[in-house]
Amino acid sequence: MLERVAQLEPIAAQTGLTMAQLAIAWVLQNPSVSAAIIGASRPEQLTENVKAAGVKLDADTMSAIDTALGEVVVTDPALTAQLAPKERPS
């Protein structure tokens, strides 16, 4: 999987983004998404990652990402239910 992820590096470079910025910008391309949550342990990470706001990724970039990641992308909708607790946790 990490070999696939490494193939995102030239795509990010081409768009002038860091890999993290590309990842955040990617979720924001989906109109169903209202916001992307980011965490930080250092203020500099925030300054870097907020640069993903307002970024438009073109269709070529989006399909290059899909090609790079290939089969490591997880899409099974049943996983939402499968990962949920079956009984109330204590």
Binding site: L8, V27, A36, A52, T80, S90
Partner: protein
């Protein structure tokens, strides 16, 4: 910063939100946490997401202190209820009316505010009738303690059922908080289309897949438990605020 409506509601959120899962109250020291919140504000982030379970309530307290001098109307403050907190007694988790009512007051106290903008059910509670949960949320909204209601990691069917009740109860159920990234797209075929139809927006967590998509892990290195069947909120060992003796005792009695 750009702003988007949260679903079809009138509430606008910064499209990049600041979350303090596994940072505040645990991995990141108080002064660094405050510096991060300050920087987030400086960068135009207005939406702050936390949960009572993060660092066993300590994360809410840190965020409350960090935002104490910020005009309340200039930010959107989100928290969640469901996972066990506090004494971890038999009623200290889930979405029962009792636990929800007790939890909202605890969260408001820690966040130093009279209301949260969004109160989210952190998971679906299989042991509580959905009607009971939604009626409790409705009372919280009508009491002015939360303005909007949301869920996290609920299925499309669960969301649809809750939305029908929310409509009957005249409360705004406006958001879903799923894990979503280039690598984890499980919402795309069911949850997201259902939410689009119902006017519910996605607030997505882990867009960088816990750092995997930042490129910091090189091939051959083992990243954190990505895809592991684990509590997505992190292993219990990440919550140092709970004494291990109490944890052991709780386990024996359940």
């Amino acid at each position: 910063m750009e702003f988007r409506h949260l679903g079809s509601s009138g509430l606008k959120v910064s499209e990049i939100a600041y979350g303090n899962w596994i940072t505040h109250g645990s991995r990141v020291a108080e002064d660094a946490a405050h510096a991060c919140v300050r920087r987030a504000l400086d960068e135009g982030i207005t939406t702050f997401d936390t949960a009572d379970v993060y660092a066993n309530t300590a994360a809410e307290s840190v965020l409350g202190r960090a935002l104490a001098d910020v005009p309340r109307s200039s930010i959107e403050l989100f928290t969640k209820v469901y996972w066990p907190t506090g004494a971890r007694g038999h009623n200290d988790s889930g979405l029962s009316r009792k636990h929800i009512m007790e939890s909202i007051d605890g969260s408001l106290t820690r966040l130093q505010t009279d209301y949260v903008d969004l109160y989210q059910a952190h998971r679906y509670d299989t042991e509580t009738p959905l009607e009971e949960t939604m009626e409790a949320f409705a009372d919280i909204v009508h009491a002015g303690k939360a303005h909007y209601i949301g869920v996290s990691e609920w299925t499309a069917d669960e969301i649809r059922a809750a939305h029908a009740l929310a409509r009957e109860l005249h409360i705004p159920f406006v958001s879903s908080q799923p894990r979503y990234s280039m690598l984890w797209r499980v919402i795309e075929t069911e949850v997201a289309p259902t939410c689009d139809e119902l006017g519910i927006g996605q607030i997505v967590w882990s867009p960088v897949a816990q750092g995997i998509l930042s490129g910091k892990y090189k091939p051959g290195q083992a990243p954190a438990a990505w895809l592991a069947r684990d509590r997505p909120e992190g292993r219990r060992s990440r919550y140092p605020a709970i004494p291990s003796r109490r944890r052991a005792r709780t386990r024996r009695t359940t």
